[in-house]
Amino acid sequence: MEKIGIIGVGATKFGELWKHGLRDLLAESQLKAIEDAGISERQIDMIFTGNMCSSDFSGQSHLGSMAAEILNVNVPSIKVEAACASGSVALRQGLQAIKSGEADIVLVNGVEKMTDVQTRQATTGLMGAGDEEWEGFNGLTFCGLYAMIARAYMHKYKLTREQLAMVSVKNHKHATLNPIAHFHNEITVDQVLNSSIIADPLTLLDCSPITDGGASLILAKEEIAKKFESPIWALGSGQANDTLSLHARKSLTEIPATTHAAQRALMQAKIGIDKIDVTEVHDCFSIAEVMAIEDLGLVPRGDAGKIMEEGLTYFDGKIPVNSCGGLKACGHPIGATGIKQVWEIVKQLRGEAGKRQIHNANIGLTHNVGGTGSTVVVNVFGRERG
């Protein structure tokens, strides 16, 4: 089967970027990716832009047109929305456009401008990722939804509050080594436990922040990509969906869409999960990383707490997870997150990850979740075409 290569990546700084609007973020990441690939914007056949809340937070719909306008091109350009998985779903549309034969080179963006509205308004807007009519009406926030997952998980698997806090501690440590990360400060377990409660049992430092940012990738079909220097190959991509509302799930302590998406991606890549050298998972809240590494099969069910204590998921550990700092500390500009995860894998596989470089990183995996597990995309990438 024909493989697709990533020939360029770009990302803005992540953070509270008061001087940057939606258009600025999109322009910066697009142009960086084009420059990184060393192509002309005229060579791009299609553009896909992952974004969730541009209408709510900036009053701007129709991002497809904005992305094309920035590049002075008139190729098909489409906004893709799947809540926090918008970026990864946009990537999948790009892969499919090439597979279909309609496009040879595709630009995929992820972008979110979040800080132009107050935190409370952002909280309300983000609830669109859940079931607005039931979960939203009942006053739930996304932190509230994951707090309910956390309580159910802690109840079932005896995960301690301290073990949970170690997710954030690790991701903050990683972020200090990533120049684009939102935060560059290390934190302690005590700081996590003593920060203000947002939705019991989760505290402020269990939560990914409200971040502005953009990230872009250039995809090319095999015969074009192989002409570039060190392309990174998309070996497999899987998506699975589940109920919009958390209460409709059979289990509250696992996300089956993760397992299904991973199976599809790994089957395409024809490898097992044990072959993955570097993993980026969706840690919108600390508990989400705990569940992700179990649902992906990186660690046995119920063992994540112990694994955190043993420090195995640090970038220099046996199972490196979220070397970029994750959503927690690199930041979580909703639509950009899925693309930034791929950006990190590309950096790692190219050997360009600087102080956080993982040795012998040949195969990487990204895991991006929309809602409470309503949409999950898992992608597998490799230095070799496979």
């Binding site: 409370r120 308004q121 909280t123 009942n138 309910m148 209460h247």
Partner: protein, 136 residues
């Protein structure tokens, strides 16, 4: 904004006020909220009023809330497994996080949710509260 729309909420009064779900005529599966297509493939349903009793599967206490809930904050929200089968998301009234446990029995109670400013509509609906037998 949509959350201030009385019409959007009005449409759901049967579910919101009276726990009206539906039941598949083929396999008897009960749904709340109502579904149009059963997992068994059947499209024929009959209305089914749920009893409003159940137990807490998990819960949280929201301390940082959306704007329209600010006056009610903090408040508890949980996932309730109803005796009739379906699981629903609901606020847990008259409770703080210290007095709740997974497995607590609860029953429905009609309460106010939000009021839109001083001049907007008041949104009502069912919440759940600890059943007498669960109170120490």
């Amino acid at each position: 904004m949509h959350r201030q729309s009385p019409i959007l909420r009005w449409r759901r009064y049967p579910e919101r006020y009276r726990l009206e779900g539906n039941k598949c005529l083929e396999c008897s599966q009960i749904y709340f909220p109502k579904k149009e297509l059963c997992e068994c493939g059947c499209k024929s349903f009959v209305n089914y009023k749920l009893k409003g009793e159940g137990k807490i599967l998990t819960f949280t206490e929201i301390k940082s809330s959306p704007e329209e809930f600010s006056e009610m904050t903090p408040y508890c929200v949980g996932i309730i497994e109803l005796e009739d089968g379906p699981k629903i998301t609901a606020q847990i009234a008259d409770a703080d996080v210290t007095c709740l446990k997974v497995g607590d029995k609860v029953e429905s109670t009609f309460r106010k949710f939000t009021a839109v400013g001083d001049s907007g509509v008041i949104h009502y609906g069912l919440k759940f509260k600890k059943a007498k037998s669960s109170i120490n």
